[in-house]
């Protein structure tokens, strides 16, 4: 009788940390997207991320994990009954494979991937999606697309097992998958009122940078955690994540410098995300120098790709397609070009530039194509069905006035004394009675102790902009 498997405390500790890191990426994404959005829709933008945490965590626990990682049924999904409803539950000896990690921990780790993948999609539909429509879409897409695709790629399904495509941490299952769905939703919902004629510039660039920092920090758990154990592969996944991302910043800002004459922080942040996306599938399969090259290429190509929406006329508000879909494809194909068994024994066919021919490249392209089409078609159908039933788009009036007020009855910023300051506006409107706010106009009134007042006019400062002749 074989010895009962024992828990590997080192691996388990690292995966618990990684799980928390991956969870942090979603609030990071909320800040990244929120800052890129206009101020009147910042809360709705962030709500779409936070609601993913709420909804997807529960779906994952009850049936998502079973579909994704239950025993393979037909190459497409896992045994639904295996962990359905989490049953009464697992024994202490229930570990995930040979890793020595309790199944509970693996379940939690993969839960965070499902959450952020759904949240990523929301960037393409900012300012105009009904929150109820979004929740319904998130529920449907996670169930019909993410859970099965995770199975196909990682859980023993046909993409990983039969086609032999490699996706270490989610280039295909996460980024291409979410990017294709984002494109579908952008098409279903249509353009924002005024786009592209009106400028819809980011309202808070420091928030974009903060979100990028949190994403980057969490991404170490995403990539290096995906090894599930702690070994040299964990190390190279970590290292490649860093150097590819660094190079992608440079790639993006070089394009900006040449094209617009100025490198920008939004560009550097976007470049970092593009690099993180691109290295995700390949981080454990390529040498660090190839990761640097990947970063430069992904940063530059994604910088050019975000302009596609203006040429093709679809309003992917925050460039989910340009960054995640395009970046995901580049990283996925990179394995076919630069993947080598010298880095990981998981690489069965050497990449093209290691003399392995086109076998791996073909498998990578086929897997990316299958997931792109599958996700796009189902997301489009789901979005279309929601639009035709409960409605997916808010009214034009709600969109112009601001979706935060219309859908959530709150606003991100209330800096005007007339508005109640500090968020009191809604109470004041509802007649709940906050003290009337004191005007805080910048008035300097010279009031000497002795009653001598030289020319000292006091006029209320007018907060309105005015044209200045001169």
């Amino acid at each position: 009788m074989p010895e009962a498997p024992t828990i590997d405390t080192g691996n388990t500790a690292w995966l618990l940390v990684s799980s928390a890191l991956v969870l942090l990426m979603t609030p990071g994404l909320a800040l990244f997207y929120g800052g890129l959005n206009r101020s009147k829709g910042v809360l709705n933008m962030m709500m779409m991320s936070f609601s993913s945490i709420g909804l997807i965590s529960i779906l994952w626990l009850f049936y998502g994990f079973s579909v994704a990682f239950g025993d393979d049924v037909n190459g497409v999904w896992g045994n639904l009954g295996q962990y359905l409803g989490t049953k009464t539950f697992l024994a202490e000896t229930d570990l995930w494979g040979e890793t020595g990690i309790p199944l509970y921990v693996f379940m939690a780790f993969q839960m965070m991937f499902a959450i952020i993948t759904v949240a990523l999609i929301s960037g393409s539909i900012s300012d105009r999606a009904k929150f109820s429509g979004w929740l319904l879409f998130a529920f449907g897409w996670a169930t019909l697309v993410y859970f099965p695709v995770a199975h196909m790629v990682w859980g023993g399904g046909f993409i990983g097992a039969d086609i032999g495509a490699l996706d270490f941490a989610g280039g295909t299952a996460v980024h291409i998958n979410a990017g294709a769905a984002a494109l579908a939703l952008a098409l279903v919902l249509g353009k924002r009122v005024g786009w592209p004629r009106e400028g819809m510039k980011p309202h808070n660039v420091p928030m974009v940078a903060l979100g990028t920092g949190l994403l980057w920090f969490g991404w170490f758990g995403f990539n290096a955690g995906s090894e599930l154990t702690v070994d040299a592969i964990t190390g190279i996944a970590f290292l490649n994540t860093q150097v590819c991302t660094a190079a992608a910043i440079l790639g993006w800002i070089v394009v900006e410098w040449l094209r617009n004459g100025k490198p920008t922080l939004v560009g550097a942040s976007s470049g970092a995300v593009a690099g993180l996306v691109a290295i995700t599938p390949a981080c454990a399969f390529v040498a660090p120098w190839a990761a640097v090259l990947l970063g430069l290429v992904a940063g530059a190509v994604c910088a050019l790709a975000v302009g596609l929406k203006y040429r093709l006329g679809f309003d992917d508000s925050l460039d989910v397609v340009g960054v995640h879909f395009v970046g995901g494809w580049i990283g996925c194909l990179w394995i076919g070009l630069f993947g080598t068994s010298q880095i990981s024994s998981l690489v069965a066919n050497e990449g093209l530039f290691y003399g392995g021919g086109l076998a791996q490249l073909g498998a990578q392209a086929l897997s990316a194509l299958i997931v792109s089409v599958l996700s796009f078609v189902i997301a489009y159908a789901l979005g279309f069905a929601i639009e035709k039933t409960i409605g997916f788009r808010v009214t034009q009036e709600a969109e112009v006035d601001g979706i935060d007020i219309a859908e959530h009855a709150e606003s991100g910023y209330d800096l005007s004394p007339a508005g109640g300051g500090g968020g009191g506006g809604a109470f004041a409107l509802a007649g709940i009675g906050t003290p009337s706010s004191k005007p805080t106009a910048s008035v300097e009134e010279a009031e000497p102790v002795e009653e001598v007042e030289p020319a000292a006019p006091v006029e209320p400062a007018e907060p309105v902009s005015e044209k200045v002749a001169g």
Binding site: K201, G307, P454, P457, V468
Partner: protein, 112 residues
């Protein structure tokens, strides 16, 4: 009585304030405003998309003064606000019919 209104570059405010204080003008009103003149605005670029920002941040300074002192006040502002570069701003003078000090109800020159 006159109202001297000046629209100046934000970083010239300290110099203007000091110049007016040196004249004995103890009170002034300052507000942040936006606008453009001959220099127009500037262009911002986000992910390759260009946005034209027409209105530039400026500071509006307002001083109520006696008619006798008005030229000195205008000269002080112009001298202190000048950098010689485009966008330095404008100063104009308008007539004021009456002024009331809120605290005491005094009118006219007494209220200055």
């Amino acid at each position: 009585m006159k109202l001297v209104t000046a629209v100046i570059k934000p970083h010239q405010l300290d110099g203007v304030k000091e110049a007016l204080q040196a004249l004995g003008v103890a009170g002034l009103t300052v507000s942040e405003v936006q606008g453009y003149g001959r220099q127009k605005g500037h262009t911002e670029v986000y992910r390759g998309a260009e946005y034209t920002v027409e209105f530039l941040p400026k500071i509006r300074v307002e001083v109520l003064t006696d008619e006798i002192d008005v030229d000195k006040v205008v000269d002080a502002i112009v001298t202190a606000a000048r950098t010689g570069k485009i966008g330095d701003g404008k100063v104009w003078v308008t007539a004021v019919e009456d002024v009331v000090r809120v605290r005491t109800g005094e009118h006219g020159l007494d209220a200055l």
